[in-house]
Amino acid sequence: MKYVKGLKCRECAREYPIEPIYVCEFCFGPLEVVYDYTKIKKVLTRRVIERRPKTLWRYKELLPIDGEPQVGLNSGFTPLVKAENLAKYLGVKELYIKDDTVAHPTLSFKDRVVAVALTKAKEFGFDTAACASTGNLAHAVSAHGAKAGFNRFIFIPATLEQNKILASIVYEPNLVAVDGNYDDVNRLCSEIANKYRWAFVNINIRPYYAEGSKTIGFEIVEQLGWEAPDSIVVPCASGSLLTKVWKALKEFKEIGIIKKVETKIYGAQATGCSPISTAFKQGTDVIRPVKPNTIAKSLAIGNPADGYYALQAVKESGGAMEDVSDDEIIEAIKILSKTEGIFAETAGGVTVATYIKLLKEGKIDKKDCTVLCITGNGLKTAEVLNGKTTEVYYIKPNLASFEEALKKINEKKGR
């Protein structure tokens, strides 16, 4: 049974059939998937969901596919960790980490969106999947595409670091390094996407791809015992994740899975790339593109496609936006690691640091039940911590040397 009605322009509301298209031919507004909630309401209940395997596909009626899931069959349903130590450290009442550092198979939330995008690409009959990425998206398309049998084209800027290249090329996609700046790569990929009949996941498949992010919102509600939290902090790159988490909560209410949504959505950015947060703080609707300069590379989108819509979602929910410095990001990565044992990539540091800042500003209540979306694993960006961690105790292979070190450790502890 089909639950998707079609695509609709977010700007002029013109409707389109389900095809690999992403932009309204009339006003050039972005297209979004529209569902038949009346039909979904009849089949999707808490009980039905609870009986299904613990993957993102347990909400499949609210995802834009016609048939059965085909890609990412083990993705999603990551832990919602009750962060008691971090809550105590920060003096807040109830805090949770939505932990996508352990997403299957490539350790970031991109596994969710790519699972949905490539299932849809199969339905459309594509044999080639493509993306332009400097990290997480490249890893997810390379890996999911390998398992699903796609020919894969991954475009990267030629200046990309070797360790990031390795985490993609190990899956043996066609990795194309473009000699040019980010603007050049963006423009070339857009041109290629319009010329070749490929599933370019975040261009012509974008309306479907983006829907995969809703599963973070669905899972948060389910894992909290079918209740929406008071506040959710979401990192913002293109702004798509934030808009989809908000959409997820509203959809659950629409089909009667939850009775009310009083959640405030907070957006987190790095100050070195904060076009959405800046617009929020200036009280304008205009997102002015910026040249990114931050260690949070996975959030470094200077011209965010969904920035305007993320801003609207934040305002509609009664939330706020904030941005944090590179030093605050590193400090937050360390705080999350030492309190909760969760090693997040820089984007996770942005989320935690922004939460801390919003608490200090009094914009998030300490009594709120808050969920922090931690979207990627720290091993992906470990180099940012070089020289910024505690020291290693180097010793000789004898007891005396160890005890000397132990003395130092105890002295430090006593201080």
Partner: protein, 82 residues
């Protein structure tokens, strides 16, 4: 000989350029055809979503001239590198 191309872009005008016929001048000088689909202009900023059509090299020169004047020119897809 370069080929005719179409480019869908978003232009953001700074306040000081709002009263200037920036787009018309560029279109005329570089023989580029603008096809405006959406626009928003207030007293502090201007934003325009449009298609530009012309020879590849003319498009490039036209866009460069807009940028030199302080107009931000970006693809409507946003940044596709994620």
């Amino acid at each position: 000989m370069s080929e005719v191309k179409k480019l869908r872009v978003r232009l953001t005008f700074p306040q000081e350029l709002i009263k200037e016929p920036v787009l018309f001048r560029m279109a005329k000088k570089y023989d580029v055809m603008p096809n405006i689909r959406r626009a928003r202009v207030t007293d502090t900023f201007g934003e325009m979503i449009l298609e530009l059509e012309g020879l590849e090299e003319n498009l490039e020169q036209g866009i460069n001239s807009l940028r030199e004047q302080g107009v931000v020119v970006e693809l409507i897809e946003g940044d596709v590198i994620e």
